[in-house]
Symmetry: C2
Subunit: 183 residues, 2 copies
Amino acid sequence: MEEKLYEEKISSKKIFKGEILSLYFDKVKLPNGKTATREKVEHPGAVAVVPINKKRQVILIKQYRYPVEKDLIEIPAGKLDRSEPPLECAKRELKEEAGISGKNFDLLATIYTSPGFSNELMYIYLVTDFLEEENNPDHDEFLQILKIDLNECIKMIEEGAICDAKSIIGILMAKDHLSKNTR
Amino acid sequence: MEEKLYEEKISSKKIFKGEILSLYFDKVKLPNGKTATREKVEHPGAVAVVPINKKRQVILIKQYRYPVEKDLIEIPAGKLDRSEPPLECAKRELKEEAGISGKNFDLLATIYTSPGFSNELMYIYLVTDFLEEENNPDHDEFLQILKIDLNECIKMIEEGAICDAKSIIGILMAKDHLSKNTR
């Protein structure tokens, strides 16, 4: 049935190439032969990490998110550098943002954040085996580090205090993962 | 502490205005007084609905997603029309995409899909009280309708067969919501 859904690219126009995003305005042929336009954001991909310590606290990052004009509470995350393996990126971002050197990373999920308009692919890891070092995040990062009990994080998701997609997925899947592995 | 994280807009340049997205290239003042650039995608916002029938099957949509160049399995969803209330949009999209007239919608979550570069806000509803009508989706929509047991959906999330962020959040939160309300 693949053929029935497929949209064929007819033409592609690069509108913008920034440091992070590229924007394309494409024309496609629909399954019924008609044409349509597609606005597509190209993104390098990203990683996110759910760090949970031995006290079952999640290490979270509070930072200002310019596009949504507010502070958000999120799990540590960052964009992939050019051709950087996701696991290396996860280790780097965890160190830069939260000052944590993680060892054993479990891949919880690989998700598309907004497949209607963007190709951003996000790798979400769980790390439980780490030493919490002195917080010494990267100097270019403006953020606060929070430690919040996993059950409290679940409540914050239900109440909307954690409302970032990757963070919700990471925390909910980490909880399920941990409850399975300690059954 | 809000002041410490806030980024002040210095200038804003509209790069593109499409049917769905607008792209801005802005300059901001960081908390330390230095400047930086921000690439921001403006999105009208969207809704998604988790329809679960009396047999605990989730009604899902399989469709080609041009930006990621593959078919994805997702919960029914769509963009907000100009100034459309989210609940009205949820009813409309559920009818158009899945041929379902839902009545009682529970708001499960309101999420930012990609707050690092986009302001897209997504309202995710649960609907359990509906009649499954003859499937007669909108003629412009190229999609397949699937009915998959809720527990099987959870397995598909763990295995990566469902990898769309809003769908993962909707299904996981619907499961928790239902298990609480039937305890």
